[in-house]
Symmetry: C2
Subunit: 437 residues, 2 copies
């Protein structure tokens, strides 16, 4: 027989786990929409030249690419390149700044390993300006992500915010040229330890004073006030040298508070750099405070020119992405989300025990009409078989309709969890009972 498991690196859930996954996906979707972001949907397949126009070596290695006749096709590896293409292609149909949401699957033929997926959902939110784009939108994207994680209700979380300009001007203040290399080394500090970081920085010809300043700077984290105070300690001249990027952080800080983001849900963290070259301003990561081992569960930032390879028009943007497939698999593994709370889409299972189905169907339909999700067991009339199905389906409520119930018009509503039963006579009563529980 043929192997029926899904391909390795591709998540496939049981119906119960899928309900929980979809619940989180819906929270993201509804939050993005509540801020007025337009959902778009682009093809999974694109011309390879479009996807690879700006891509680097890793991407070229991982992309699923194939020939079809003359066409050189590839499966999208993110939703950002398709966004750039979409914005250029549809620019006359869009109002700028264009707020777009996109939740879709992307593909990366990575080496299979734990926590890495070859097919996974990205849940992206971006604002694209034409010509320029105010700092307000940076704050809005952060506020949206804070709103999503508040609704996720996975314990406390922190958006750790930084600004690439702050990093750039810090290195320029210290007259360190090779800032990209320094950032790369700092980025692995958690893995290799401070001693090794120092050693590597030395190899870059940083002197002891510079190394100390760089390390002290990279540890700065806290409120804006904390940041200012700590910067002053690193070097008295820094506050002045970093005046402009600090003013940007200050503006974002004020906007976040105005949008109702709680002070304990964000901080400024000067260690955040984000590997990707295209970020040019605000950058951020998100950590679940009680599960810091998960690393960043959502990140993003500001980029100066989204559409460079497709258009001469300069289009700056700011955005964030939640890698939901990976996050969900981690939450499942840690037992933080369970594929349990709700196991079926249906709220009510109608069990027609009498010979004739028709009357039961009329009642089931009435229950749907008052807004309930209702399934009818349509198999054997045998009570034992019906209860067996009721147990395995995990539907929380059952409506028992034997010949007696139908002729007396008094139906038995059973709570399948507690076992309690009550008599009901209308769809409305059923709805009330289910909603009250």
């Amino acid at each position: 027989m043929i192997n029926t498991s899904p391909l390795s690196g591709m998540m496939e859930l049981s119906p119960a786990a899928q309900i929980e996954f979809d619940r989180l996906k819906n929270i993201i979707h509804q939050t993005y929409e509540s801020f007025g972001y337009s959902s778009i949907d682009t093809p999974v397949l694109e011309r390879a030249e479009v996807l690879l126009a700006k891509a680097g070596g890793e991407t070229e290695k991982q992309i699923y690419r194939f020939k079809r006749g003359d066409a050189d096709l590839a499966m999208r590896f993110d939703l950002t390149v398709p966004l750039a293409r979409y914005v250029v292609e549809h620019q006359n149909e869009l109002a700028f700044p264009f707020r777009r949401a996109h939740i879709g699957k992307v593909y990366r033929g990575e080496r299979a390993q734990k926590g890495r997926f070859r097919e996974f959902y990205q849940c992206d939110v971006d604002v694209i300006g034409r010509g320029d784009l105010e700092l307000f939108y940076d704050a809005e994207v952060l506020a949206i992500i804070a709103a999503v994680f508040t609704k996720f209700d996975l314990g406390s979380f922190t958006l750790r915010i930084n600004n690439r300009k702050l990093l750039k001007q810090f290195f320029s203040f210290l007259e360190i040229m090779d800032s990209a290399e320094v950032l790369r080394i700092l980025d692995k500090a958690d893995k290799i330890g401070e001693a090794s970081v120092k050693k590597e920085l030395k190899l870059l010809r940083l002197n002891g004073l510079e190394i100390n300043k760089v390390l002290a700077f990279s540890k700065i984290r806290g409120t804006l006030e904390d940041v200012r105070g700590q910067l002053k300690k690193v070097d008295a001249g820094l506050l002045k040298a970093l005046e402009k990027p600090l003013a940007e952080l200050e503006e974002i800080n004020g906007l976040l508070l105005a949008m109702g983001i709680k002070q304990n849900n964000f901080c400024f963290d000067l260690a955040i750099a984000r590997g990707l070259d295209y970020y040019t301003g605000m950058v951020f990561e998100t950590s679940l405070d009680e599960h810091s081992g998960l690393g960043s569960v959502c990140s993003g930032g500001r980029y100066d020119n989204l559409t460079g390879t497709f258009s001469k028009q300069k289009m700056p943007g700011v955005g964030a992405s939640i890698g939901l497939t990976r996050l969900f698999s981690q939450l499942l593994e840690l037992g933080i989300v369970k594929d349990g709370a709700q196991k079926t889409p249906s709220q009510l299972l109608v069990l027609p025990l009498g010979e004739k189905l028709e009357e039961a169907l009329v009642i089931a339909q009435k229950c749907r009409e008052v807004g309930l999700k209702v399934e009818t067991y349509g198999g054997s009339r045998n009570l034992k078989k019906q209860l067996q199905y009721a147990n395995s389906s995990n539907c929380p409520w059952a409506l028992i309709l034997g010949d007696d119930e139908l002729s007396s018009k008094k139906w038995t509503l059973k709570n399948m969890v507690s076992g309690e039963q009550k008599t009901v006579t209308t769809a409305h009563q059923i709805k009330l009972a289910i909603e009250k529980a």
Copy 2:
């Protein structure tokens, strides 16, 4: 510059058209769920041997298939083969009969032509039994499709229902062996005309009487009573010969009426055969009565053995599929749906005309908290630029917050369609005004 159009045969919509597409997709999703169908999500990429296990020549030609290292991969061309694999793989997590809904993209590298898509959404609903599956589920699938098209509100529609067993026994009654060939010829009657049909049937060595009976049979359509009456006219012996399949139609007829399907939304049509070999019982197509040129907008039927290539366990099923991408493109073209009713996800656009954004943001957030979808214009404070954005964004309502409005706490709510303005002071008032309109 690189070509930024999507690949030919792949639908990509403007944000406004996407809203309408998603509205229809949501109707389908919610209707499937209201009958208790579990949504599943399987990978787009599968092992080629899985997808092609049972496939015929057309599919092998159209499938997107490629090698990756040792792996022979392919993109799914329907949701039925993945369902078969899923049911076998997850059978211990499922309650049977398993009701599953799946809305997802599928891929067929067809020759590009009008109305044909290479990437398109299928919206499938199926029930899978283990061992056997009652006729009730056939009726339920039909009732679900009727509920979807009722909610679509695209004018009157008709489910045209038949039974492959009826066809089989009819041909066996006439002792016509080559029934598949006869059906193939009848199927193109609309295209080639009756004279050509007769000619081709003659080539199959049917005699004149047989040809007349076959043609008369294939024109039978109506209520169950109509069907019986017309069958009797074709041949007095038919009612008895077709007793069993007619009893199935009768049972389905009664169940549909019990589930509240209106008599004018379905009929029995003995011309419906469905090309696919795997249907073995009930088959149906759906036509929009005022747009019969569209052909069938949803079809499906009963199959005896879904999982034959993956398991020894016999698993019969019944299902239906809506090809939403194709349907939507046809409806757009005919002007039946418009990308117009709602152009943005947001209901309210907050225009902060004063220098300080913060107060406007607090108000916008309050509006979100009462359940409105709200976007804030974050660009220039210039009134002209803001109104320009308001017009191009097509948001139906704007809340104008200049310095005067903020200091007096009397905000101006403007209906962007009628131009009417009114003064409001709370988020709740705004919500009421928007909902009342």
